[in-house]
Amino acid sequence: MPAFDLREFLLLAPEILLAIGGLALLLAGSVGRGVPGRVAASLSLFFLVATALLVLTVEEVGPEPRLILGSSFVLDGFARFFKLVILAGTALTVLISVRFVDDGAYRAGEYHALLLLATTGMMFMVGGFNLVSIWIALELMALSSYILAGYFKRETRSNEAALKYFVLGALSSAILLYGASLLYGATGELRLDLLAAALPEAMVTGRLLVPTGWLMLSVGLLFKVAAVPFHVWTPDVYVGAPTPVTAYLAAASKTASFAILVRIFVQGLPTLLPDWQIVIAAVASVTMIWGNLAALTQTNVKRMLAYSSIAHAGYVLLGLLAASVIGLWSVAFYLLAYTFITLGAFAMVVVLERREYAGEEVSDYAGLARRAPWLAAAMLVFLLALTGIPPTGGFVGKVYLFAAAVEAGWTWVAVIGVLTSAISLYYYFSIAVQMYLKESTRDTPEPLGSPALTAAIATCVVATLVLGLFPGPFIEFAQAAGLPLP
């Protein structure tokens, strides 16, 4: 007999619905001529919204986390918050994908199916409460992402992206799994809370097993969030992948990876807190420094945003580093804001880019303020938010993260954080310089919008500004994502 009540499956209705949606689109997309792009996009939007509604209704969480399905998964505010953020990110990705799917000449159904399946994986990830269930969900996300990254089958760069992503991703997954197995070997537990309880004793009896195990686990996780020195795959993958996919990787995928990083460290390894804090402090510092310095020299917008996303991983690590209530809230809030900001910025890349990777240079933004003032203003908002200048969500998020670090006594890391974000102004504003201070030439690509794209950009702008001007309700929303701390 199963060790749990099968009715608990009902509590996973959102994930199940999303998986069914993905499978349905997969089948529909492979039958006959497939489904037209717009239909596929509408269907996947429908599934995403329905899933979000189910998350809001079915997964009603009480004050106490609820373990389901033999403690494989947990229903708590943390999971709920991140599920909603991920769904929002995916929905925006669907919107900015419309044009790309339309003129990409690849089947729309499969594209959207992969997106939905990857999202399903993310939802399971953030709800996972067991190293194995987390890992399997991670693989579902990762495998779907590898294919998405190589979606331009006939572009060498896309192939390169997919291959690099696959090889390095598989390596990191393997390391992660190996780390998990070592911890299992030392403690005999896979459940995060039991693992935490068994660790103190295992640290004595297991000798090297525990440090090796958690270090490998950390390497695998830091790899997924693209923290320096495990970031080398990021620029090539981000540049080679189709831009909507890049946006998805930078926003949703990173959010989900951060969620499990936080959950595993805080709930699974609280005993090792002083140890991993040192590691995280070091990684956060070099990530912020290197991510920003490397971005300084980039002339390709996608590559610049790739390095910027590395740098932002460093900032988010500050919240984890603090390992405090505020720290976790700040991580949650920042990832919420970051999802909208990043997707908005990449949506702008989509507006200007052409087939075969044209229109991705910083100089292609020249004179945008004159030709498309509203789009330029939108991009300016995203750039300000990425830099962390008010009145944007990026500012409030960064203040929150720095506050967490200062409060926890990690002032020197916070100092690195503020100085590097001042540096980041330089490269973000190289785009603003082009938009506002330079004149367009004959070769400058015309902005090419579509209603869906406009809707996505407008949503992101409004969200970024609202998060900056009236963040109150959202901070409270993010506070629901707290985890019990050691």
Partner: protein, 131 residues
């Protein structure tokens, strides 16, 4: 317990030593014979018709991959059969969901022409991506 692995270690060592000894002995004792003709590759006693390192269709590779996927997943069904009665309906339906998922994958491969050996991928969407 490490010591329980001792037989494995011994067996491994024995295999390595035996193989090494046989090879070394035949090399030392045996007479070299035949030369070029003996070393040339042949198939069933016939000389080769074309080089052995030729390119083969990726299709075989894909078929092999498909086979491995379904084969491995089918392996899960054996233990299920053994505990089917104890598991009852919940277990039955769980496995049905599992089979359904595999079925979706199967239909997908089928519709994409992954099982279609003759047409060699000349399907419509491929043409579409060219144009």
């Amino acid at each position: 317990m490490p010591e329980t692995y001792l037989p494995v270690l011994l067996a491994l060592a024995f295999a390595l030593i035996l193989g090494g000894v046989i090879l070394a002995a035949s090399g030392l004792i045996g007479r070299g014979s035949g030369g070029r003709v003996k070393l040339s590759p042949y198939e069933s006693g016939e000389p080769l018709l074309d080089p052995s390192r030729k390119r083969i269709s990726i299709l075989f590779f894909l078929i092999a991959i498909d086979f491995v996927i379904f084969d491995v997943e089918a392996a899960f069904l054996y233990p299920w059969v053994l505990v089917l009665r104890e598991g009852g309906w919940p277990l039955f339906w769980s496995v049905m969901v599992f089979v359904a998922l595999i079925l979706v994958g199967f239909v997908y491969i089928w519709r994409k022409g992954g099982l279609d050996l003759k047409k060699r991928f000349r399907t419509r969407w491929q043409e579409a991506s060219h144009g």
